[in-house]
């Protein structure tokens, strides 16, 4: 079994003098600072020789005191071992530039684009350094830099200018004020790049081709995003995705809140998975503080997170069914009714329906109420019966099968290369589940199966979700049996949390895939940087290549089966 020490020793012998400093953190994490000119070689070596084939993401940190930017590349493996390599590259603050990893890992594309538009770090060799989340007027402002002066911006609406276009639509633009121009919070000159519309129009080659817009508001999308497909007849030639319509700048906001105030913001990252988001954030901060939640609190967290997984999968499947055909509209309504019962169980503990803010650093907010066990067991029994019924209702339906089988097939190799995780990856015959792979909380003591399917098509992705509901029920039943009595908060946690300077990365299995939080502390009561590495961000990036060559009618079946959440993509 490979450990972080093995990897570090191998790196030091293969690249003498390249690793400037290194340490092996808890939970098989390898932290290393690499010389900027050799980062691509080091990553290539790790990918080819130590099966670090899962590019998890990149984080850009603005170290304004040292006059540096730090880019941390996060690499992991799809099941070969559990080591996470966090490789840091430092670059000067004026004229920052690092080498791009897009040549090695296909999915590095979006992560690097995001760092470029937010921090202004240039990535040498990146094929398309265009803005991803920001509107055009904010590009060149670099809002995530620490010296960005446009934060907080209270008076945006008062400055909006209304004008009527030639087509008769009202358009709004928000011009910069003189003070902003003087302070440098708006761009002096927009970086030169073609806009989204220009880029997609460049791809039109023949007379028979046209672009079909789906969105930003469209019946199929779970939130506003723009999916443009270039069609030739009935076939999709190329798909273009524009996200960022609800970009809220959560990571910037988290930097300006204390650690405790950050918990409600992480709820709103993805409202279907607010408990796991809390868990990931609190877990990362717990590692900074060096504390661990008591056993009872960990069980409570598992119970609630698994209940939350059930409701998320029910709603995800339900939404998907409305998209593909109205013939299966009834299961949608039934599933929503069942979901209400699950929500009632969660609500009896947390007091909220979707945004819970329940997990605390070193524990949970409150204990389980009386009668929770009986109520939950009844609900789980009902959910099992109903889920069996749904599987019979539509998974065995011949029309549904014809519509879904062989549509949007993602081969195991492609799924790993595109960087998807969660149910879409497990549907492509890869048993990659954080609960089993990198067990957090007390999952290592619990018995459950990692559901996989061989087909990798849209039908398999839905099946995986439905089967995971059974596994979640089984996990909750075990927890309810095993849960000990005891405290629900670790002792000696101050009200005002000031972790030691350092970094922590903590990943959990979200309902949709791998969710990780990267928190950097400088010893004050506010984090320097919080990076949320979400699973849906990775799915969405993988969507355009998946849509190439399919029929227009199948676009909905494929995009829907991914169970996306725009709020988490945009953050």
């Amino acid at each position: 079994m490979t450990t972080a020490n093995d990897v570090l020793a191998a790196l030091q012998s293969a690249f003498p003098g390249v690793i400037e400093e290194a340490k092996v953190g808890p939970e098989r994490q390898l932290w290393a600072t690499i010389k900027p000119d050799r980062i691509v070689d080091v990553c290539k070596y790790l990918r080819d020789n130590h099966s670090f084939d899962h590019y998890t993401g990149a984080v850009g940190v603005d170290k304004i005191d040292e006059g540096l930017f730090e880019v941390t590349e996060m690499l992991a493996s799809h099941g070969a071992h559990q080591v996470v390599a966090l490789l840091k590259v430092k670059t000067k603050r004026d004229g920052p530039s690092v080498k791009s990893l897009t040549g090695l890992f296909w999915n590095a594309n979006w992560y690097e684009r995001e760092i470029w538009e937010m921090l202004g770090i240039n990535f040498e060799g990146h094929p398309e350094l265009y803005p991803l989340l920001l509107p055009d007027e904010l590009v060149g402002v670099w809002p995530w830099r620490k010296d960005f002066k446009g934060y907080p911006d209270y008076n945006t609406a008062e400055r909006a200018i209304e004008r009527l276009t030639a087509e008769g639509y009202t358009e709004y633009s928000i011009p910069p004020t003189e003070a902003e121009v003087k302070a440098g919070t708006v761009q002096k000159e927009r970086p030169k790049y073609p806009t989204f519309r220009e880029r997609e129009e460049m791809e039109i080659k023949g007379e028979s081709e046209m672009i079909l817009h789906m969105g930003p508001q469209h019946a199929v999308v779970p939130g506003p995003f723009l999916l443009d497909i270039l069609v030739d007849g009935e076939r999709v030639k190329k798909a273009f995705l524009d996200v960022g319509y609800i970009h809220k700048g959560i990571e910037k906001i988290l930097e300006n809140r204390t650690y405790m105030q950050g918990i409600p913001i992480t709820d709103r990252l993805c409202y279907m998975a607010s408990l796991t988001n809390n868990e990931a954030y609190c877990g990362a901060v717990e590692r900074l503080l060096g504390i661990e939640a008591p056993e009872r609190a960990q069980y409570i967290r598992i119970i609630l997170e698994e209940l939350s997984r059930i409701q998320s999968h029910l709603l995800g499947t339900a939404e998907f069914l409305t998209l593909i055909a109205s013939a299966v509209y009834s299961p949608f309504l039934y599933m929503i009714i069942d979901r209400e019962d699950v929500l009632t169980c969660i609500e009896s503990v947390t007091g909220a329906r979707i945004n819970h803010s329940f997990v605390r650093f070193g524990g949970v907010r409150n204990d389980l109420p009386d009668g929770f066990k009986d109520m939950t067991l009844d609900t789980l029994k009902m959910i099992r019966e109903k889920t069996e019924e749904y599987k019979e209702l539509f998974l065995s339906d011949s029309i549904y099968r014809k519509r879904m089988e062989g549509v949007g097939v993602l081969s195991p190799h492609d799924a790993r290369r595109l960087g998807v995780s969660g149910p879409p990856l497990r549907a492509s015959d890869t048993p990659y589940d954080m609960r089993r792979e990198d067990p957090y909380l007390l999952y290592k003591d619990l018995d459950f199966d990692v559901i996989t399917r061989k087909e990798g098509d849209s039908k398999a992705r839905v099946e995986v979700r439905l089967d995971e509901i059974f596994e979640s029920c089984y996990i909750i039943e075990q927890c309810l049996d095993q849960i000990p009595s005891g405290p629900i908060m670790a002792e000696g946690i101050p009200k005002k949390i000031k972790p030691e300077p350092g970094e922590a990365y903590y990943r959990v299995e979200d309902h949709r895939g791998e969710m990780g939080f990267f928190v950097v502390s400088d010893g004050s009561d506010k984090p320097v940087k919080v990076k949320a590495r979400g699973p849906v961000y990775a799915y969405m990036q993988a969507l355009p290549p998946l849509l190439e060559g399919v029929y227009i009618a199948d676009v909905v079946a494929i995009a829907g089966s991914m169970d996306a959440c725009t709020s988490e993509v945009d953050r």
Binding site: L134, P135, E137, L138, P143, F148, G150, Y151, P152, D153, Y154, T156, A157, E158, A160, Y169, T170, E171, Y172, I174, P216, Q217, A219, P222, G223, P224, G244, Y245, I246, H247, K248, G249, I250, K252, I253, N256, P264, I265, R268, Y271, M272, L315, E319, F332, L333, I336, I337, R339, E340, R353, I354, N355, S567
Partner: protein, 190 residues
């Protein structure tokens, strides 16, 4: 408008007709009226109450989830809360709806798109701001990309606070809108 504008008549006949009256009003006024005139008559009379009674009992809303409130909006349209009993029904396209719900944060990038949606909705139409984000920016009030004051851009009739409001609160908001329509106190004055 004179009769001779429509039917070619000798001038003498036209002059004669203009003298005729019906119920004390010039005949030409009653025969040849315009949509605006019908509107004026409806606006004044009690017939408007009948129209508004119909409108308030079939408020179809646009299914346009934007944030956390979008999930509650979805649930609001489903059997457990059963908005259908008030004549409220979710639709997926702006061409078929009466009410637009702003169910989340409006960003600089999304503002033009949502404005287009609003303009695509046929009259009569109403707009509701649901959730803290749509009212004041909510937890993201200090973001660099959020429009805090939605009411600058949309004639919002009902604000429903909450983060997110429960589906019961949605029902309360719609009942409030129905009352406003009934009392003719809505922003656009239907």
């Amino acid at each position: 408008m004179g009769i001779s504008d429509v039917i070619p008549l000798p001038v003498a006949v036209d002059k004669e007709l203009e003298k005729w009256t019906i119920w004390g009003r010039p005949l030409t006024d009653v025969w040849f009226t315009t949509t605006e005139k019908i509107h004026e008559i409806i606006e004044m009379g009690p017939i408007k109450n009948v129209l508004n009674w119909g409108r308030k009992n079939s408020l179809w809303f646009l299914m346009q989830p934007m944030g956390c409130c979008g999930v509650e909006m979805l649930v609001f349209g489903c059997p457990h809360y059963d908005c259908d009993r008030f004549g409220i029904f979710p639709r997926a396209t702006p061409r078929q709806v009466d009410v637009m719900i702003i169910s989340g944060y409006i960003t600089r990038k999304y503002l033009p798109a949502i404005k287009n949606l609003w303009e695509e909705i046929p009259e009569p139409k109403w707009v509701m701001a649901i959730g803290e984000c749509a009212i004041s920016g909510g937890p993201f009030y200090d973001s660099y990309n959020i429009i805090n004051d939605t009411s600058k851009f949309f004639p919002i009739d009902v604000f429903v606070p909450g983060c997110p409001p429960r589906p019961e609160k949605f029902i309360e908001g719609f009942r409030e809108l129905q009352e406003k329509i009934k009392r003719r106190e809505d922003k656009r004055g239907y």
